[in-house]
C-alpha cells in the first residue's frame, strides 16, 4: 500500500525531509514506524510518540488504508 508521511521537529531533522510517500506492507502505524525508524534512524521509541491518521489522533494498532496520511508526533513543546 502507499502511505503519505509528514515529519515534524526532530523526526523531520532525522528523516531529512518534511514529507514523503512510501510503499509498504505495514498494516498498522506500529509496523510502519518500525520500518521507517530502521530506514531513517529515528531515535524515538514508539512510547514517546503519538500517531495521527488523516488528521486525527489514533492508536498504534489502527488498520491502515491505501493513501492514508500518517503522522508520528514527537512530544509537543508549544507555549
Amino acid at each position: 500500500m502507499k502511505y503519505r508521511l509528514l515529519y515534524f521537529a526532530s523526526l523531520c531533522d532525522e528523516a531529512g525531509r518534511s514529507e514523503e510517500s512510501v510503499a509498504s506492507d505495514a498494516a498498522d502505524p506500529r509496523a510502519l514506524y518500525a520500518e521507517l525508524a530502521a530506514r531513517h534512524g529515528f531515535t524515538f521509541t514508539p512510547d514517546r510518540l503519538r500517531v495521527a491518521v488523516n488528521g486525527a489522533f489514533t492508536d498504534w494498532n489502527q488498520r491502515l488504508a491505501d493513501n492514508d496520511e500518517v503522522v508520528f508526533l514527537p512530544p509537543v513543546s508549544g507555549g
Binding site: A9, G55, P74, P75, G79
Partner: protein
Amino acid sequence: MFSISATPIDFERLRRELETAGAGAVVCFEGRVRDHNDGRAVDGLSYQAYVELAQVEGMRIVAEAQERFAVERIVCVHRVGDLALGDVAVWAGVSAAHRAAAFDACRYVIDQVKARVPIWKREHYVEGASEWLHPNAT
C-alpha cells in the same frame, strides 16, 4: 476560538473580542520568548505546527473549557515561525461574569494547549547551537 498564526499576534484586537455586556472579568495570558531556559541563554525560538491537527485539538480544548467553566468568550492563538526575544508565542484570553471562572478557564486552556496541541519549539541559544524541545511526558 483557536487559531495558528504565522504573523505577530495582535492581542489588543483579540482582547476586544472578549468584551460582552455580561463580562465582569477578563483574564489574559501571554507566553513570551524569554532570554533564558533551563539555565541557557536564549536569543530566539522557532515554532513548527502540524497545523491541521493543531487547529482541531485547539478548538477541542476551547470547547472543553466552555463546558467546564461559566465563561462568556475564549480566544487562543499560537504563533508559528521564527520569534525574537519578547515576541508573543501564545495568547489566551477569557471573559466571564466572575473572576474565578475567567482565571480557571484561562489556565485550563494554556495548560492543555501546551500539553496536547501538536506544536514544537526549537530554541536558539546565544552560544550558537539550537535544538528541538521534546519534554518527557509526566
